[in-house]
Amino acid sequence: MSEPLSLLTATGVAKRFGGVHALADVDFTIRQGEIYGLIGPNGAGKTTLFNVLTGIYARDEGEFLFDGEPLNDLKPNEVAARGIARTFQNIRLFANLSALENVMIGRHVRTHAGVFGAIARNARTRAEEKAIARRAYELLEYVGVSERANHLARHLPYGFQRRLEIARALATDPKLLALDEPAAGMNATETATLASLLHDIRRDGTTILLIEHDMKLVMGICDRVLVLDYGRKIAEGPAAEVRRNPAVIAAYLGGDIELDVEHG
């Protein structure tokens, strides 16, 4: 069996805020087609890593190699164009636009109509518009929000908003889908729906990077896990191994107890 292809490789990534080392010397590799978990106690630097990866923060050191090419000093929109789409820890939908429009905006980066096309509304623009709407609707169906396609995003129930944000990210045709705590605040049923959605997304060919606090979800669906603590990598590997790693247990519980995922 050949070594699985790596999609994203980080080497020595560091980010400082003043004197605080939010990230220090972080290395990891995400393989093509896996669900890669990113865990760690609060303030460990998970979201900072997301922001550095997606170009919202400039990193201080290190580099990312994405899909064979470096991902250096790109702006967030350029990162999205390269094929990394993300969601946000505190949902950031376009609140006063409909669910469908939210997803249609996700198609922006893969479509081309400009001002003159918009005003002239020529055959090419009309065809593109149609394709955008069709694809957006398909994605709403895919995540299970299509029955509320015309509702304003801010009026959707919480679980729908989370899934809508995923649909919007998928609309950019990403190679890597980066999810920042998608299960936060969800009940058990909603989390189960989410887990099966993530399985579907992976099955359909998109690699997933997942920040999550819900250990049961992480251990259940992630192939491999990276653990951060105080901005440093303390463990990386298959979920089952990481879970027994003493450093990880210490970081989470301050003691040598095995993480109890069966009842957690």
Partner: protein, 358 residues
């Protein structure tokens, strides 16, 4: 409106509606002229304000960039026209050449304003744009020395009207037994321009570009994460809005025949912004309605405040000019209290209600 113009649902009623509306708009200047030519002029200015408000709507309503100096682009367009078609430089270029030049120059000014303000939002952007508007006005006021470019506070006069060959928009003419005065001719031209502006606005809004603007308005960080080049899109919004202002300015110059920096003071910017906000930010027809109301209400008050005081008290207690602005301000406050989203808010909420019922 929906019912009248939705051709897909009810084609016959829609066509009758459109026909009636067209007829009414065509006959309007003659009805107004019978009351007094002044009212045709007032209507023309109102249409010009609609045009301006539609331009500002692109910046404020679609992209959510608060611009308090919008009148500067109007001024730029007006001065470009005035300088290229008046005895001031003894240039008399035809209007179909100058209007695009005016739009292009205003567009350039739009980018000039947009570039340094890309990182600003809300209040901060409002302050910078306000300053920009004042800078432009002060420049126009002072560019009479050492080289006389704008003729300073005296303004530019004897500006050419629109002319196509021997057909002048300023001259009274009898065509087919109907008496067309200058303002009536301009009315038709302005109406055509307004209809084009409405169409451009509607099409822009319902396009990839319009959605990108709305995304920036709603959440700039999320918009960037979705791959929208927010820098280019914001500059585009400024440039588009400014072009509208530039064209409106050119038309203003030609219609008035005289312009001075006085016409482009801060209050004018505030007025146009009020039209957009009052009518319903982001909704094209709401903005047009807002512009019409805010153009006509002060004029109606001008003609009624004095006589009403005469009738009630037997004499004029308060200067009509003062009362007019007082009542006007009062009306604005009331409207904002009772309809904060504007008189005619954007269709989204309505659409959502419809969806909620099914």
């Amino acid at each position: 409106m929906r019912l009248l113009f939705d051709r897909s649902k009810n084609p016959r009623i829609a066509w009758v509606g459109i026909a009636l509306m067209t007829l009414a708009l065509l006959a309007l200047p003659f009805a107004l002229a019978s009351v007094g030519t002044a009212w045709v002029r007032i209507t023309n200015l109102a249409i010009l304000y609609c045009f301006l408000a539609l331009g500002l709507n692109i910046v404020v309503g679609f992209a959510g960039l608060l611009d308090l100096g919008y009148i500067a682009f109007y001024a730029v367009g007006a001065y470009v026209y005035a300088l290229l078609a008046s005895p001031h430089f003894n240039l008399h270029l035809p209007f179909w050449i100058i209007l695009p030049i005016g739009a292009a120059v205003a567009c350039l000014f739009g980018v000039l304003l947009g570039t340094p303000t890309l990182k600003l939002r809300g209040d901060y952007l409002a302050i910078v744009t306000l300053g920009f508007g004042e800078i432009v006005r002060i420049f126009l006021n002072n560019l009479s020395q050492p080289v006389n470019i704008t003729n300073g506070p005296q303004g530019v006069y004897m500006i050419d009207p629109f002319r196509i060959g021997s057909f002048s928009f300023a001259q009274r003419q009898t065509i087919g037994g109907l008496d067309f005065s200058g303002p009536v001719k301009y009315y038709y031209l302005l109406l055509a321009a307004l209809l084009i502006a409405i169409m451009v606005n509607l099409r822009l809004q319902d396009s990839r570009i319009g959605r990108a603007w709305e995304a920036i308005r709603e959440d700039e960080i999320a918009a960037r994460a979705m791959g929208i080049n927010t820098r280019n899109m914001k500059l585009l919004a400024f440039a588009m809005g400014a072009s509208f202002g530039g064209i409106a300015g050119g038309m203003f110059s030609a219609i008035q025949g005289f312009i001075s920096p006085e016409s482009f003071i801060l209050v004018e910017s505030v007025m146009v912004l009020s039209m957009v906000v009052l009518g319903g930010m982001g909704n094209v027809f709401g903005v047009v309605l807002g512009a019409l109301l805010l153009s006509f209400i002060p004029e109606v008050l001008r003609y009624t405040v004095g006589p009403v005081q005469q009738a009630v008290f037997g004499r004029t207690l308060i200067d009509p000019e003062v009362t007019r602005m007082l009542l006007f301000g009062f009306a604005l406050v009331l409207m904002m209290l009772f309809r904060p989203a504007g008189i005619w808010p954007s269709a989204l909420r309505k659409r959502e209600l419809e969806a909620g019922r099914t």
